[in-house]
Symmetry: D2
């Protein structure tokens, strides 16, 4: 909806800063009677947790989630679900005692221009730490759409694209990479970036299978428009595609249409291709829903950058703190969570209008 | 908010089908005291109007807008503004007397799966005719943000990209193309597609200059997330980029950061680049806001396509009616309108919270 | 949601001024497949239509509604339903050529303080003419909740309360009065007020039977809170009660609780009373939902009233135009419509969350 | 907005059950730069805190609020403000080990009908304990409208109405009663009810002075409609009035209109009366905003009541736990908070649209 809430019927609100005492989310509108405990959420958080390989930030956060409301006798009650994670390893001293110069590429300057005041420790509210709560809320959303399987992975890192796809590979490397050969190459790329104090961008893809035809809505509550907002709301994301995405702009109408034929097995028709990415006219078609997002390289780099300070004077931005050389890696579980959250909302919206 | 309404404080709701008696929009939350008459809206509609060159559909709609409420003595009153356009050239007979087979790549199948019933004449509610009302509402939005200049154009058509940029060229060719040489090439491309009954995709870009730093908001009301939803909600759009977009994923952190320095003229700082596309952390930076969207080639092509009918039987989709060989062309004014609508909403939201 | 839209999932937006060319509503989120034509709406409008007896305003509006979208082959399609009524008998000349002094008790002054500009002809946007569109939208809402019977009536007029209740009487007198004796007395009261150029207040009650237990929601989407907002949003309403209302504050806990026992017929339990008015904790109990609203006497009276003009100078407000001596009478169909609209929304919201 | 969130621009979401580990609120959309610490909130909570006199429940909750986000260096940052209160004295054993029979007059039955499952300990989510978070959020809202003074009090308890009004008295008795004589009488009434295990209703009034003319909006975002929703959303409330309320229905138009004259001191005009309660056409007039709500007597009484259990069998409801003999008393700070929350939202909404 607005500001720090996302969703229409199935909604969540997040709060908390990178270096405050805790971060949290309130999930509202959740159907009652779903089995839910911390054990349903923690594994998803663990996938996103920092410090699990040398390729992500060395900040050590256990990210242990607690459920403070909305569950009774192991089942959701329909009341709002409050989820909290304590910040454990928030070394404020990494950030000095006063606001550092604006870090170009970060939100520092924009926040100050908007609010005239901000929590500058570790990015404050703009820190990607907030995305932990998306993953937590997304774990609840998954319970709302058990018919859907959601799988995210990186298809490109530092401009190096995968050549093959083996779903089993995704969990075997620290990059959520479905191509073993690419994963091996990416080790070298990320190591080099990390050692140089540089950073790399990435492209993540997420496929949701099992979405029935009919979720979504014209004209401004389109499933793909909501997925676009969800994807673009993730820190460092600069582009979103559905299905063939920008590639569709280079196809002819003959190439791009997804022809249909009756299924030999009855039931839903067979589609001969999926350029649409499972969404037509803002409504799911029953094909896999395919979303792709582009992460920029983080601006937290060792090379000093020309900038200004809050007084408007010339200054240099020098990165301290512990950072991810490629934020896109840990962005994969976040993308999955956002897709789950959008789908849960649209499932409920669909049955609201259509029974 | 949802379904057929867009925006939070400055909102608009559209209604109407391609072949119904009329289409309309209700613009709500508009500030009072703005000079507004049909003359402020009609020129923008005329830019989108079909039938103006051989490169767009030959449907002849004058698209004459009427204001039915919300304006008194030439000024907006703060009450909802009702805008209506009568459908004049809606040849229902082009569409036969019963629902044709589902047209692959169109929303026919998805709508039927959702609603079990749809107005199939000319795409009904899913028709791009709805975008006329976005342009009308966008004309009102422009009055809310007079400090902003919004300019859209095509940067790519049928996979052929512009080489140069001359803003003055945009109005001189039927493609909103800022490169005369490319425009000349595109004539050939579109003519060929039109004659072959085929269709082409395109990429449009829109730049908003004059947006002050501070519009937008973390975390789910981000300016770029709203622009992404706005862009993706336009018919036939499959991708949205802000600033460097997917290209950012191929840059290093050193290349991508937009360094700042004090302006020699005082005031807002000087940015040395604009990979961010004018948005950081969901908030405008004062740089030009840059949005890019990809249009797929329309599925309305002469070549029959394998499909099914509503009974699930194998069928062929054969396009009748009058169609655009490249919907991206007339999409340019629509993109501009959506950008204006998002910016107007965020201007008002910003002053709500920050005074 | 806000300003000129009401509802969350089943929503409607109204537009138009008393003396503009037309008024209208857009109903969004309506389930598909409902049989709908103007004939489903017009009878409800006719109940509210002015000029039907000497006890209401003599403005002669046929209030003929047209459906401009959202219906195909006689069925709702799930797309927004645009409803329009042309203003036929809008005698602007009754209102002179410039803004008259602020009429105390009307919204004139408040509107000018807010907007600095307003359509002062006949109350403009603040005119109760807007309520025609509530009745039209409410007629659509009734189709969404066919299991519910909604009946409104006046229980008090000019301080004179009914003594008996006979549902069949409601349609037999011009006051929607369920008590023939009271109706006879009210004739005298209203005639006297009309002749004196005075006005009277009234209390209307609306009972919705057939609402199943379970609609509504804690804590801020409560069914009774939405009914309160709906009721208070009607022009001239100054109070809302659910069930025993203010009277409950004078009961003891023993008197007020609605004891339950198993029904001898099985199924839903039997309640021994209904002080709750069918809502507990914001959720329907299965008992009849009972809402009561108080209409103030309109401030459009013949006696000149001390006031100021827009320049702040002392002035006299003198009522011209044609007015209802008791706006509460024609408020009955409006209350019914608002109750239908709230219930339709909550039915859909309930199945969104709870299936 | 919906379910557990209230407000449009200035919004808050509450979570938590009576006997869970904690309750909380997230306040979103708060302007930046406001001085805020726990000390700004705690005093308001203390006014509502149970166990302060023999006239309220003996549950002993310190209700110590913690701010977990949204404040940095003592100032609000514009980010969401997370407020948490731990539940300390939640004696679950008072409630046994399994769901007791439905308590008539409480939300037990309605919740089960909606959700099929509920936290029945102490009312769970339906407990008035949730209102502590309204008071906490309301304390933040007060900072947003420093120009407004909000004062609530009881005007009636157990059917016994105040005769005089002395603002200084309000803080001198445990009933927020502005009439010392009435307060003395009420001691007897409440003592008697408490000893009898009975309960009493009450009517609270809240006056907000300093609200400038122009807040609010037609037609569905009316200030009074939002106040009505806010009031009716408070536990045990069954009626809401603005200004003269139901009494207005018994006045003539001549009596009810609030005549105006130029102020001898310049500036805003002088009103000769305030039957409107400071709101006309949904917009504030500059006069004091007057809201009145009716609390029913709580159904938690010692006398066993005929009811059914979850299996549908006949049963008796016997109240255990510690309860307020008159929930209206502690409802006064809650009403004040809700009025503050509505006004803060409307102040921001007003400047959004009107600058």
């Amino acid at each position: 909806m607005s500001f720090n809430t996302f969703g229409r019927v199935f909604r969540f609100t997040t709060w908390g800063e990178s270096h405050g005492p805790a971060i949290g989310a309130v999930v509202d509108g959740c159907p009652p009677g779903l089995g839910l405990s911390e054990d349903d959420i923690q594994p998803w958080l663990d996938r996103r947790r920092p410090g699990q390989s040398r390729f992500t930030t060395q900040r050590r956060e256990p990210d242990a989630v607690r459920i403070l409301s909305g569950v009774f006798e192991g089942l959701t009650t329909g009341a709002p679900i409050s989820l909290v994670i304590d910040n454990v390893d928030a070394r404020t001293k990494d950030y000095g005692e006063s606001a550092p110069p604006y870090r170009p590429g970060h939100a520092d300057y924009a926040y100050d221009m908007k609010y005239g005041h901000r929590d500058w420790r570790g990015g404050g509210r703009a820190s990607a730490r907030e995305t932990a709560m998306r993953v937590a809320a997304g774990a609840v959303a998954r319970l709302v759409v058990p018919e859907v399987t959601i799988r995210g992975y990186l298809v490109e890192l530092g401009g190096d694209r995968i050549d093959g796809f083996d779903a089993d590979e995704i969990g075997r490397n620290p990059f959520f990479c479905p191509d073993a050969a690419a994963a091996a190459r990416w080790e070298g790329l990320v190591d080099a970036a990390r050692k140089a104090g540089s950073s790399l961008g990435a492209v993540a893809e997420c496929v949701a299978t099992g979405v029935p035809a009919g979720w979504g809505a014209p004209v401004y509550g389109k499933l793909d428009a909501d997925l676009a907002a969800a994807g673009m709301s993730i820190n460092a994301v600069k582009g979103v595609e559905i299905g063939a995405g920008f590639g569709a702009a280079r196809l002819s109408g003959e190439e791009n249409g997804d022809a249909m034929r009756p299924s030999p097995h009855g039931g839903a028709p067979e589609f001969l291709s999926n350029h649409a990415g499972g969404v037509a006219g803002g409504i799911s078609t029953g094909q896999p829903v395919v979303v792709r997002i582009a992460f920029k390289p983080t601006s937290s780099i060792l090379t000093p950058v020309e900038t200004i300070d809050a007084a408007g004077n010339a200054a240099e931005a020098v990165t301290k703190g512990r950072h991810d050389p490629c934020v896109g890696i840990r962005g994969v579980p976040v993308l999955e969570a956002m897709v789950a959250l959008v789908l849960a909302d649209h499932k409920l919206l669909h049955r609201a209008q259509c029974g």
